[in-house]
Symmetry: C2
């Protein structure tokens, strides 16, 4: 075992021990911790800015793109937002301890199914340092110990944030290890974390293809991936075409760089000639490049550039366009190329809509609404750790409840099994 | 890619395609399939017995133990039980389509959270051939396509059972591939299955250490382990000692070979001298060998053999015994050596019991009741695919609901995000 792996093992072991202390702490104590973190961040804003400055300088020296550098920056506004985010979490209902089912066995044993923390959650993410606080606080709220591994670009910022959070833990009488951070930028730290199934109960990787593949390949513990969204809007033959245009523009343009943004527009061949010219004009007006195959070009009345592939997540002002024969063809396309994240149908026909909503196997399916609503905040969850692209435990937007599991508690008076 | 891996890939790909057909089939159709399987098994009982005979002969030639051979045998009684089991599943409430939450977003979008099948479930199990039908039918009931991999000892029996099940599928108008069986006894088939994350949504390994480790190491898809149970009873100082003896004897002896059977008895030092002699006599009477350390021997008033280790799952009439200083010490022991499966406290003190039930981090925790109640049948789930020892998605007894996931369905009238 390398020195680095030994360091990670010791850190995870301490996290596991601390997780029992945190699970046994009251909801009030966990809220006290989060408030103290918010206060600590406020007090340390100068220190945070200085640490962030080091990351920004390194980023410039390493020639990172302006967009990447922007994502890294912890300016005053973002720090304020992060602090406010933490304070908002204090006010959310605590799911831990909730009794979700209560019943009596045939022999009089009184059973309860009770929400409990999962334990230790490993979170691996990329450049934005605010995730360190946002995700960390959601884990703490639900009694879980986060073991965080941030991107190397934000290393100094993350270390400064973690220091504040650990100091807050000690201040409220909890072990510092209720929050941990992998203290190395070595890429081998990820496979090493993945071998710590004895201590880490769940791994949540949030990021691009390379990160997700590394975790999937090496992880011995359960993983809930927060992976890509190749989301579709299908404009059915009976669609309200103005509504379709609005929903398509919103799904694509309202925030193109996120996983619930639209990537591929599927248009029914019956209305393609009528619908597309105005649709494409509206998209172009907002700077969107529309890419399509020969049939799409023919219906659009102009030669469109070829798409890179129907399974590409552009995360940019680029939209794939395909003309389909009908709903079955649209669903076939989604099954073949999509990522089962979020899909919308636009139609006035309720029967067709119901069939679409039943048959499409995605985390979120909408009738006459933007794909951008597939979001924990929009769903009213209060907070979101991310959007799961898996089909186990949590699917789609993942809030506080999804950060818990349950146990069965039975109270008897000496019952034995016959 | 080897020929075997190619075969497995094609089989999983077909399973994945069939899973959409099955998910779109109605609950009535899935019940029709299960009834047809029951009828088919009835009609094929001669063929099944002949196939099983081949397995039994091979087992004898290979010198398998009498216990192993007994587990392999598909006698008339067991076939009848298997058929009745399938018919019972028809009558269970179908969880698929159940709306578990319904709410309206701030903008009028009507949301529903709906239970849906997971998709394709890989199940890897060991010698008992009845699992092929029992687990297969539970998957089909919940709209999931099972890809089964049974033990090599039961290969001929399993092939015969699968043939009946596939014929039933075709008879009711579904693809034969709604049930699959890995058609090789090659050990390399398990790692190969584990690489099929493109097609298999969930893997459930049920078995011993070697099998579980192989799956955990290789699986790229989510895994819900059905692993071992190192279960404890803690007899507190304020226990009703007669109740304690009854519960201990029941937990250990009612069926010693299963995961919810007792493996380690923890006795509070305050009552150890008073409690143990009679307790040990009662266990000996039922053929149980009690093993303990020096402190246990001292309290028992006799020299006990040493335990193999406190983390051993004996699955036999052997019980580990330890004297502990109190509840904190008992919980510490469970955390260090247990498997977080099922633990019981025996006490008359409600406050102590509540603390134990809250603090012990196991799938099922009982107060004054046998560990043997940690079971889907006993919990009233109607059927059980097994007992999960994981903390994600399903924990403890896993019934039909735990074989589903959900999707979010939103109905709007053109809403876009601001």
């Amino acid at each position: 075992m390398s020195d680095m792996e030994q360091t990670i093992r010791e850190l995870c072991q301490k996290a596991s021990m601390a997780s029992r202390a945190l699970a046994n702490a009251s909801g009030e104590k966990r809220n006290e911790l989060i408030s103290e973190i918010a206060n600590g961040l406020e007090a340390a804003s100068g220190k945070l800015a200085a640490a962030n400055q080091k990351d920004l300088q390194a980023a410039e020296q390493n020639g990172l793109s302006a967009a990447m550098i922007d994502r890294l920056a912890l300016n005053e506004q973002r720090i304020t937002k992060m602090i406010q985010g933490a304070r908002d979490v204090v006010d959310l209902t605590d799911p831990v301890g909730e009794v979700t089912r209560e019943w009596e066995l045939y022999n009089g044993i009184e059973m309860k199914k009770v929400r409990v923390p999962i334990g230790v959650i490993g979170i691996i993410y990329e450049s934005r340092p605010n995730v360190t606080v946002d995700a960390g606080v959601l884990c703490l709220k639900t009694g879980n110990v986060p073991v965080l591994r941030g991107g190397k670009e934000a290393f100094e910022s993350n270390c400064a944030l973690i220091e504040v959070m650990q100091q807050a833990a000690v201040k409220v009488g909890l072990p510092a290890e209720v929050i941990s951070f992998i203290p190395t930028t070595d890429r081998e730290a990820i496979p090493a974390m993945c071998r710590m199934d004895q201590y880490i109960d769940l791994m949540i990787p949030r990021g691009g293809h390379g990160l997700i593949q590394t975790v999937v390949e090496h992880a011995r513990m359960p993983v809930i991936k927060h992976f890509h969204g190749v989301c579709h809007v299908y404009v059915h033959a009976d669609a309200d075409l103005e509504m379709a245009r609005n929903v398509v523009v919103n799904s694509k343009c309202q925030r193109p760089g996120v996983c619930n943004a639209l990537e591929t527009l599927l248009v029914d061949q019956k209305i393609a000639h009528q619908f597309l010219p105005e649709m494409i004009a509206a998209l172009k007006e907002r700077g969107v490049e529309v890419r399509g195959d020969a049939a799409a070009s023919e219906a659009a009345g102009e030669t469109l550039p070829e798409p890179e592939g129907w399974d590409v997540e552009y995360l940019d002002l680029i939209l794939g366009l395909r003309v389909v024969e009908g709903m079955a063809d649209a669903i076939k396309h989604m099954e073949q190329y999509g990522s089962h994240h979020t899909e919308t149908i636009i139609t006035k026909n309720k029967e067709i809509a119901d069939e679409f909503l039943a048959r499409v196997d995605s985390a979120a399916v909408f009738w006459n609404a933007s794909t951008r609503f597939s979001d924990g905040g929009q769903f009213g969850f209060g907070a979101e750790i991310g959007i799961s692209t898996d089909k186990i435990h949590a699917r789609g937007p993942m809030g506080l409840e999804e950060l818990t599991i349950y146990k069965y508690v039975g109270r008897g008076n000496g019952q034995t099994r016959i």
